[in-house]
Each structure stands twice: as C-alpha cells, then as structure tokens.
Symmetry: D2
Subunit: 340 residues, 4 copies
C-alpha cells in the first residue's frame, strides 16, 4: 500500500489529513509544517503519522507520494523538490503561481514518470461531473454560454487576489466541462479594501467553439452565491452549489428559429418543458480526489486534473488577471521558507 | 387640465392608456396607430378618446402633450414632429436609436421650452428610489461596485438586440443612483439563436469615482433573475425585483482594515450585523412616471429622466454596444412608416 | 349560444364578468347588483350587458344561466330562485351556508334537470388537476397523508370566519384528489382580533382509506404560504402555489420495510431519487371553470364540482367548524336583501 | 475542576464527547458503553478518557458528573443510579419515558442537592433564545398563536415514535418561550410504514393565556422543514432553522380593530412595516448546554432545562401522545441492560 505524506498543516491541511486517514487504499504516514503546533495537532489525532518540521527530511523519509497544501507561493518549489526526490505529487490549486513554473513541474513529472495532479476539487464533485456528462452526451445540444457567480463576504487571502483565489475554481470547471481552452479572456476588477489586491472581479472568456463565459467573483458580497448557468440549444442547466438537495436543475426549454426563414417575418418559438433535478451521490469531492490520486499512482491512469490540466488553468488565470499570482520574489522566497 | 394623447397602441401602449386614464391630473383624449384594430380597441375601452391613423392629423389635434410608445426606430422622428408641433413629449425608452438624435431632441425641446421626458420606468419604482436615498444619505458609505442581472427566457425583440432591450433598464438605474456617467464601458455578447443579434451579453462600466459595474442580460436563461447587488464600504444592498415582499434587503456588514496598518500583518475585520428589508410603497411605477410628466408640464419641474438623462443613457448604450441600435436606414424609414 | 347573467358585482364579480366576456361559447348579457355603481361599472365595460338592481327582474329576463357571486349568506336564496326560474346555476363557493340548504339546492336542480355547479376554482387549476392524475394513475402509490398550509396577512371576510373562507379551498382539493369524504374531522381555532370569529385554525381529517390530512389556515401570518404536501408510498409531491414556474415538484423517494420482517431487527431502506417539476399549462382556472359550466349546460356532462360535490364540501366544513357558517337568521335575511 | 463522564457512545454520544473535550471548565475523564468498540473509539480520540463497559463501575469512579446519552428507555434507570451515587446528571432529551419517572428523578436530585438537567439543546440555541427575549420584552405584543413544522425524510428511531423523537424539541421550545404549560393537548398521527409506530403526527396545544399552538412532525416528507411562526399582536416572527444567515425574521406588521367599534361597520386596519433579520451568534448550542451544566454544578444556578422543566416536557408528550413513550416492560429492561 502506498505511503502518503502531507506538507502544510494550516488552514486546509487538516481536511486533507482527515481524508488521507479515511482512504483505505493508502497509508497516511507523515506530516510536515514549519509550525510545530500544527504538526503536533495532526500527529496526536492520527497516532501512526510522523511529524516533520523540515521539508527535506520529510522528503527523505519513506513516503511514496506527497500532498502539498502550503501557501501558493511555495507550491512550485516544494512540488519540484518532491518530484526530484522521486515522489508522486498532488498539489493544491493552483498548481503554481505562474504558467511557466506549472509547465516546468509537468515536464519534470513526465521525465521522471511520476504522477503529478492538481487539487481542483470541484472536478471531482458529483454536480460538476453530472453536468459534464450532460454536455458530452449531447443532452444540452450546442452550448451557447456559461455564466458563473462565486461571491460571499470573505475569506480574504494573504498572498493572492480574488481571481487567483476564487476564479481558479470556475476556470477549472469550465475547462473540464468544455474540453477546450479559451482563445480570449479579460477581467475587470477593483481593489476596494486593500491597495492593489482585487477583492471583486468580472471575467470574460471566449472559447474556440464560440462559447462565451462570464465569471463574477467577490469577497465583498452580502449574500453567498455559488450559481452557474449553462445554456445549450436543447436544454439549460442551473447548478446551485448552496442548495442542499437540488444542486443541479435541468430545464427542458429553448428557443427555435423555424427553417426556412420566411423573409421579413419573425417567428421564434419557445419550448417550455419539465424541469428535472437528478439525484446526486453524496460523496465528498476531496475524498474522491484523493482516491483518484492513489489509483493513478497504482495504475498509471491519467487523472482529469493532471499537470497539463493544472497548467492550462494557471495559463488562463495569468491571461485573464494580466499577471502572475504575484511578482515579488521576496514573497516567493519567504513563502517557501515557511515550511523549511 | 392638460390633454394627453398616445402614439403607438401595440405591445406596451395599452398599459400607458390604462395609466393615462387613471391619472386624475390629465385628460386622456387621443390615440394614434397605423393598425386600425389597435386604435379601435383603445377607443372602445375609453370612450372619450378619439382615434387617429395618421400621426400628423393626431398632432394637429388639440392635445397638449404626447406619449410615444412606438417601435424604437421611430422614436426620434415622431418625437421631433411632436415637439415641432409644440407638444410636450414623453418617449418610451430609449429616447432614440442614437445619441446624436437623442441630443437633437433634447436641444429642440429646450429651444421650444417644452418638457421632454424619457420613460425609464424603473427610475420611478419604489425600490430603485429607496436605494438612491440610501446612497445619497451616505448610509451605504462609499460605493465599491454594483452587479446587475436581468435574464429570463424571451421576449425577443424585433428591431433591437438584448443590450438595447434590457441593459437600457440597468444603465438608467445606474445613472440615476450614481449621478455620474461612466468613463469606460465594454460588452461581450453572443448572437446564439438569430444571426447578428445578441441574445446574451455581459457589460462592464467604470465610473469617474472609481465605482465599477457589471451587467448580465439574456433572453436565453431558464430562470428569471432581476437581481442587483450594491456594495458599499458601510452597508450592502440586494435588490431582487422578483421578490414579492422583500425586494430590498439592507445588510449592515462590511470589511475593515485597521489603521495604522502594522507592517507585514494581515488583520481584516468582518462586521456582520442585522439585515433589514424596508417596507416599500406598492405604487405602480408607470403611474408615478405619468404623474411626473403631467406635474412637470404644469410646474416646469425638471423630471429625473429628462431629455439630457435619456441622452446619457443612449450614449452609454452606444458606447457599450459598440454601435447605434441599428444601422439600416431602410429599417428606420419603414419603422416610422408604421405609424404614418 | 347560451345567454349568461351574473348576480353580484362586488369584490369577486368583476373577475367573473371578465371571464364570461372572454368565453366564446356563451353570451354575457346581464348583471345584477343592488349597488347601482357596481352595475354601471360592469355595463360600461361590457356594452352588450344589461344591468339590473332587482334579482327577480334579472331572473325574469331571457338569461339561460346564472352565475352567483354574492355574499355567502345569500347563496342559497338566490340560487334557489334561479333554479325555480328554470336557470342553470353556477354558485361561488361555498354552495350554501349549511349542508342542508346545499343538499336542497342539489335536489331542486336534479328535479328540474338543470345544471348546478359550485365555483371551487382550484379544482380547475392545472397543478391540482395534475396531482389528481398522479394519484389516480398510481404513480404516488398509496397515499399516506396530506398536509396543507394556506396562510397570509388578510383579507378578513365580513360574514364568515377563516375556516369558511379559506379551508373551503383545501377541502375541495382534498375531496377532488381522494374521491372520498372524511369520516372524522376536527378543528382548533382562535379568534385573535375579532370576537367570536376565528382568524387562525388548524383542521384534522381522517378518510375511510386511512389517509389523514392536516390543514393550517390563517389571516394572521407574516409570510404567505400556499403549500401542500402529498405523501405516497411510492412518491411524494409538494405543490407550492406561490411559485411561478415550479408549482408541482414530484419526488421519487420513499421508505421501504423489507419483507419478511426479521424478528427484532430494524432495517428501513430510504429510496432517494430524482425530483421532477412537470411543465403545467398556463391557463386561468376561472376561465376553465366557466367553460366547464357552459359545456355542461350544452352537453349534460356532470361537472367535477356539481351540486353533490359542493354539498359534500359544506358538510365537511360544518362538521369541522362545529357549526354552520353563521347562525344569525337576521344576517341571512339582510344578506339576501342586499341584492334585492 | 469538575470531572465529567459520558454514558452512551452510540449515535449521539460522540458529539457530546467532542463538546466535553472542548469545554475548558471541566475535565472529560470517563466513557461507558456496553459496546467495546464504541468505548475504544472515544478513548483513542481523547487519550485522557478511561473506558468502562459496566455502568456501576463507571459510577464508582471519581467522576463528579455524568452525561447520559443512552436509548430513551434506559434514561430513568441510569440517571437514578447516578444520582444515588451522588453524581450531577445531564440526561439527553426526553428526561424519561414517563412523566412519573421524570418526576421521581427530579425529586431525587432535589433530596440529594444535585444538579439534574435535561439536554433540550434548542433551548440553548441563539435563535430560540433571541425569540424568547422578543416575547419577554413585549416586542411582539400578546402572543396569539405559534405554528411549528419539523419534517424531513428519516431518521426513523428504533424505540420511540415520531412524537417522542421530534415533537420533544417543539414542546421544549414552546415551554421555554411561553413560560407556561398547556392546559389541553391532542394529537392525530398515522403509522404509515411500520405497524403501531407513528411516523407522521399533528399536535394541538392550548395554553392558559389563550395561546394556541400547532406542531407538524414527520419522518416521511420530501422536503426538510424546520419552520416556526410566532404571531403576536404587535409583531410576527418566522424562525427557519434551515436558513444559513436569516434564521429569525421579525415582521413589523399586524391587524388593528379600531375602538370604539362603530356598529355594523367593518374597519380592520393592516399595519405593514419593515422586516428585520437580527444577526445571531454562531455558537454551537450543545457547547452552550454543556457549559451551562458545568456552571450550574459550580454555582448552583438553576439551568433553564432543569429536572422540573424536563418533567413538564414529558408530561405534555404523554398527554398529547396519549401514552408513555412505550409500555413494554421487557423493552425497558432490555434497554437498561444494554449499558450494563
């Protein structure tokens, strides 16, 4: 059974620790963080886990695979060292703070014949998988456009702006659903509370097939929205992730233009049919993601969010945001230092 | 008492007829439409109303004021003739199909000392007026951004695209609330069903004060949304026009950055307070609008949606849509012809 | 074509006038009300309609059928006179203020071979018809129970309490759906604002098949609820009449007890499936009701809400409320007097 | 610091263990369950906790206080032994399966001068506390009625029916809010899936002050409802426990009857004002409950859900359900045996 270790035990790490412990197909054996209290907390809760304060000592241990949940600025450096040390790697999203570095990790993993996977958790969530099936089966017809809103009050991130923090989810969902990367993209944001860090932004994407998408993201919104609308020529879907029981609603409706178009006339037909909310599995996406990682290590199966996919997401983020996640080399250095 | 006539008795005209009839401060005396059945229907329902098929005969009658509810392409020409004939004019939105023509009407009305008003009905609706009060009083603090969604399935318009049909509402609301015209604007749309006519579009606006706004409009959406979110530094507002009883919700919440900012630290404070949904009057906006028109005629009071305001809205539409409402001179000619 | 007249042009009458005017299969020819302004208002709007202040003169006219929309206390007397005069009769709900009188009208109509119908409008509404189809087809399995809530702020009725005003709808829906009359029923109400007139009440019903039902009705509720839940052994339905697009939701879920039950064990299985909201016709129930009345006159077809049905509803009301709609003979006399 | 032990580590026990561990004011030192795996699971997670399989050995240990989370049928016997052993006791709701036994526990605790508290968790939840404050302050005026719905699909209980399982919450909330016990009560239920065990029930209560209440409870409902409406003469409240951010909505509305009532006239006035959703603390009710238990032990403060309160709740349950929680002595004996 594969031996898996976790780097980064701060905000998100404990969730990964719990899920690693729940996954029967792997052994959760090691945790690494430069903050001793965070290592201790994990080690106490999972007695079979060894704690490390130093990444290199952690990587020198007998772990086969590494899950990276550190601040974004250190993703590249830690993942690189882990690959160099011969470990399979699952990196929390985004894969790296620039597309070039993400590509470099992907190349390195390919050279070493190691699994490199990005933790785009939504790609493993039942509603998102269901909608991909609907798109791929042709049930929705041609996709016209997608509109996505992901807004709420907080949580502000320390090292990245709202695009790198929230739009990363929507972009991964779009790439997974549409199977194509956008040919054009823009954003308009505003840094309302903190200087030079957008806390609200509106994104536009155009895809080669003609599909357009709009993404609204905000840390400054009084109501929480997790709403996505996919409009196809045959059917339309609303995916509301805040709903408990009816996350996906499929509307059997549309507009038709009769052929041949009689000159000078205007005869649109509206088709209004049933709405259906399919029953979705209650499985935890993070658990499915970790199971995919372990299965890919065992079988060589390419995960849907492999290094190439993670690199594509970062490339879109860079293009839309007009910059890398951050430019300050000191920040990058200090961030890596955090887990040393 | 002022004598008022109506030109255009098609889709929207009957609503104006009903409201003109309900307004005690004016006499509803004439209706004009090139379709005889539509004239008859109004004349039968309001026996004191005379019917006309010809605009010039209608304008030669004893009406003091004219309400124009014809297709957009004929707004300019009919309003111009009415002003030349010495009538006060209320034109359905948008004031004209280009900003230059809208400006020309505004100038003409000023020269003749006549009231020219645009039928931006939302500006007269209690929720929109309430939010303007909240903004003007400073209750919301500095406005950071506004996000507006106006989507549903249908109704496709014959002569204009979705921007000229739906965004005209949102732009009028923004100009009314913010009291400033945007310095920058763009749109991304797609003509999904009909060639060369957008049925979905996403708009961005930047205002001189730094406020940004996003508008999502669609004729192709499975759920109806009429949702606007106004985010200020002190309070935030959600205005949902599909709600029956709680159209305006005021959230006493925000984010604070302590001063002086200690170097290297990150201490945002979230303020989460009560939500309040103020009771709003149940008055019909169209009735308030017509009452404003009559009152402005009587007293000379400048209406909030005067010619200048209507021209500003068209100027933003042109800039954002990248074009006039339509370019085809034949269409313009034939549209005016419709009511001749 | 049958000539139809309307008695009672107060609160509800104008809606019936509009619908009678819209129904191509009948001629709307007469209106009667003791208040002259109400007669005039109808006669002005529908010029072919003759106005009457006296019921007997109205009944002596050439109308073939009569729609009764007067206060409840006068239903019996006016319907009786109309039947005696040989007219078919549609009476607004409830048919009469006591079951004995409702039965007497039913018997009289049968003797005279005239159509007697009660205006239980909900029985003609698409969601209610849809749910009856689901029950009759066996799609829901055995019905376990029905829970109904009909609450809002106002409108207080002058002559009856909340049970006779609101529960009459729910009881008619239950009788229509279940096809059986309850064997037991009770209510607990409270007269909160006005002495001796319940403005909130809770009703229980037991049906011969074992089905139980609960009805909550109130004129004193801050939110409007029009919610009905039908629980069957195979599927469950929620009918929300305040929803615009998804009035009926069908849940493919249930609980199963395995057979044979192993002693001492507890193995319930939950079945959780899709939810479906069928597209429903947008037709106005009142129009369908009037069309049914005219069709029954023409063809002799028994309407679903015939006199017998209306009598059953009043019998349940009497039993549950513990009394007739009102006991005061003076009130009854004066109410009839109102339309004389 | 007081040493606290837990009896019963099945379905609900782990939540209490977590909360006991989180409470700084007490030491969580012991757990007892007849199922060894459940004891081990708790002991592993909280290393300072000793495990016991036998209640008497557990009670002979040095614990000062005991939390009882066993099946309802054993509440009385375990609580009795704990009190006899001189321990303070917190019993999960309901206090016992009959009012006589609940009273006996209350008397025993009083004799021994020990704290006896019932785990009516909702009484410690911020929305319920908020509404009690609104009632007590007079903000709502006189309370007219309360309507409560607590329905969803599952979870079926093994030893009690839906009244003893779910209505216990609503009755505890009502007693806490109104500060009086009902003078009358009834229920109508149906055993739909399992013989002789109600899975749906409707309850009615009348209170000495004239307030009436209705409770709808069901394990067989396709949508989850946790909705309570409190109607007062001045204001009305809707408490929706399924809402994330707006659990309590206060409506400033009502109906007024002018004084003196003019004879024969009907002049009700509706008052429609703002709605306000107060910000509520995010605290976990179970934690507040355990803190209350520890504080009561330390200070002698009477907890709001003391033995008398818990007895009152059971007395109402017995009256409304028409029986004790179960009648079978063998079941009672075997249930106690479970934790021996």
């Amino acid at each position: 059974m594969k031996r898996v270790g976790l780097v980064g035990a701060g905000y998100w790490g404990p969730n990964l620790a719990r899920v690693l412990n729940q996954t029967p197909a792997c052994d959760f054996v090691a945790v690494c963080d430069r903050v001793p209290e965070q290592v201790e907390r994990i080690a106490r809760q999972y007695p079979s886990v060894n704690g490390y304060a130093n990444v290199d000592e952690f990587l020198a241990s007998s772990v086969d695979a590494v899950v990276v949940a550190t601040p974004i600025s250190s993703h590249y450096e830690i993942a690189r060292r882990a690959l160099v040390a011969g470990k399979h790697v699952l990196v929390e999203k985004p894969l790296a703070h620039s597309a070039d570095l993400a590509q470099a990790l992907t190349d390195l993993a390919a050279e070493r014949n190691l699994i490199l996977m990005t933790g785009h958790t939504f790609v493993y969530s039942p509603p998102v998988v269901k909608i991909r099936e609907l798109i791929e089966s042709g049930d929705l017809g041609d996709i016209y456009y997608v509109s996505l809103s992901r807004v709420n009050l907080g949580l502000y991130q320390k090292d990245v702006d709202v695009i790198w923090d929230l739009a990363v989810h929507d972009i991964s969902i779009l790439l997974y659903w549409l199977g194509e990367a956008p040919i054009d993209g823009m954003s308009m944001g505003r840094a309302c509370v903190q200087a030079e860090k957008n806390d609200v932004a509106f994104l536009w994407l155009k895809f080669p097939s003609g599909i357009v998408a709009s993404i609204e993201i905000s840390w400054l919104s009084p109501q929480k929205l997790r709403r996505t609308c996919v409009v196809g020529s045959k059917r339309m879907v609303v995916y509301d992730d805040t709903s408990t029981d009816e996350k996906v609603k499929i509307y059997d409706c549309g507009v038709q233009l009769p052929e041949p178009k009689s000159f000078g006339e205007f005869h649109l037909t509206y088709r209004l049919g049933d709405m259906r909310a399919p029953r979705l599995a209650n499985a935890e996406p993070l658990l499915i993601e970790v199971e995919q990682f372990v299965r890919s290590i065992e079988t060589g199966e390419v995960p849907p969010t492999d290094g190439r996919f993670g690199t594509d997401v970062v490339r879109v983020l860079e293009k839309v945001a007009g910059q890398r996640a951050f430019e300050d080399p000191a920040l990058v250095a200090s961030a890596v230092g955090r887990t040393r």
